[in-house]
Symmetry: C2
Subunit: 297 residues, 2 copies
């Protein structure tokens, strides 16, 4: 089967939604440890206002502490051009921009319309390319919206087509609230993949469907999977629930299904164990607790 | 898509592997609540030695407390003919018998060879039919063995063919230690289904693959899925890990994929909430914490 690029968003989407505030040096260490385990893409920082999102404060310090001698691409999330101005002054070589497919979510989360989201995505992609950076655009609430309910897949695919036409290097379809099921993943990936741009999925495991949907996405041709080490990152819309799917859990499945990723599962499990110690609690991920299998593989 | 019979094994496989010992009346109440939520099959008791498995003590009391006026079939697990002697003296109308596909596991777990397991299965099935009972045979370690590692799927399918020839009403392929992945589920179900007997899977979520493998099994034609309410039941081979997949988590996926089950998901979530209160702790299941979706479906 085709290789899959696993992007660990733990240092960003994970830690951003945890109560703990880890200093930039520790977040950089997490990203560095992930790279050392063979994770080829790490979303290491978010260029947002430090006073609004203290968990992400000091993005520049995180970027400055990342290693240069690695195969791994470190990326930063931006929500607007101001964020991109900050990212381009760092060593990061890839920008992630995200907007939602549903109007209410985009208004509440970003204070703009979906149309404005598409337009900003196009500007960020253009500027990234001028700077010889890669640009990934994530379409949020692609599997469902906490305010509007079902989201029309036709609308998601129309947005994906425009993002592709605007030159994004990659489109990631995000299940922001963890409601998606395999048939949705398959239909969205199959629809988006026709635009000639690599397609990925970013799945939350809030309702335990993320691994099944990720596998359906890979079978449909997705070549990028987002995960969050240890499964860190809760769900703001369901406070008792888990959020991001654990990277090492995805990796166990990919390894057993012979999908190449370049990642050393045993090393990744050690990173999850380290992070559990840093955070001082058991993480939602399952494989780091159960161990890989077979033992002598 | 074809309807799926969901069998909740929480009162048996779930509670058997929890540290708590619930009295027979509470286990019967759990089974009764599951039936009231529309679960059509409940493994309510295990006819084993009370001194060896105190969690399952008083199987006759559990059976005597179950309601008669329900569409639900209540089943009991037996490991030998002595167990069946006890079951046939109760009101239970279905027997579950289990043996492992791997020699070492069967020796350590049941003290017999796999051949003896097949032979006992045949005798239990024959006696059940003489009593006008249904008989399900579960083949354990079908996806992997904690002692032997990989298990040859050809061997599993050979055993399934013999069980089918011996007249079992249903064959369930069990991932006893939670190592399976979707391609295994698909291959085993496709292979077993040719014998003209309904095929099911019993999956543990120890490595987070149970929902993905369950969905692959259903796509391959499986018509029975075992689950354990709230995801109760740990994994004796990985003490820090989770065990059975949560019934309500499977059900969320089936409902979203339009697979008929007869179960009311909202009512099932209430049962999981009740059980969490009885056990006094958060259960591993995810959907009971996050809630179903969309809210007004």
């Amino acid at each position: 089967m085709k290789a899959v690029v696993v992007c660990d968003v733990g240092p960003r989407d994970g830690l951003q939604n945890e109560p703990d505030v880890l200093p930039p040096a520790v977040r950089a260490e997490l990203a560095t440890r992930l790279a050392a385990a063979g994770v080829l893409r790490v979303e290491a920082a978010s260029f947002v206002r430090d006073d609004l999102v203290p968990q992400m404060a000091g993005a520049e310090e995180v970027a400055a502490a990342l290693p240069a001698d690695t195969q791994t691409t470190f990326a930063g999330l931006v929500l607007n051009e101001r964020g991109y101005d900050r990212l381009r002054a760092t060593s990061l070589e890839e920008v992630h921009f995200s907007f939602a497919a549903s109007e209410t979510f985009q208004q509440r989360n970003a204070g703009s319309s979906v149309e404005e989201g598409v337009a900003t995505a196009a500007r960020v992609v253009r500027r990234a390319h001028e700077d010889a950076h890669r640009a990934t655009v994530t379409i949020g609430t692609a599997f469902g919206c906490p305010f509007e309910g079902e989201v029309d897949p036709g609308r998601v695919l129309e947005l994906a087509a425009r993002v592709a036409a605007d030159g994004a290097n990659e489109i990631v379809l995000a299940d922001t609230i963890g409601v998606g099921v395999p048939s949705q993943a398959r239909a969205l990936v199959e629809g988006a993949i026709g635009h000639g741009v690599p397609v990925g999925v970013h799945l939350h495991d809030t309702r335990h469907t993320a691994v099944a949907s990720a596998w359906a996405a890979v079978e449909a041709g997705a070549t990028v999977l987002d995960g969050s080490i240890g499964g860190i990152g809760g769900c703001p819309f369901a406070p008792r629930a888990t959020g991001n799917v654990a990277t090492e859990d995805l990796l166990y499945l990919l390894e057993r299904e012979d999908v190449p990723t370049g990642i050393d599962l045993d090393a990744l499990i050690v990173v999850a164990e380290w992070l559990a110690r840093v955070l001082g609690r058991k993480l939602p991920g399952r494989v780091y607790r159960a161990g890989p299998w077979p033992v002598n593989r």
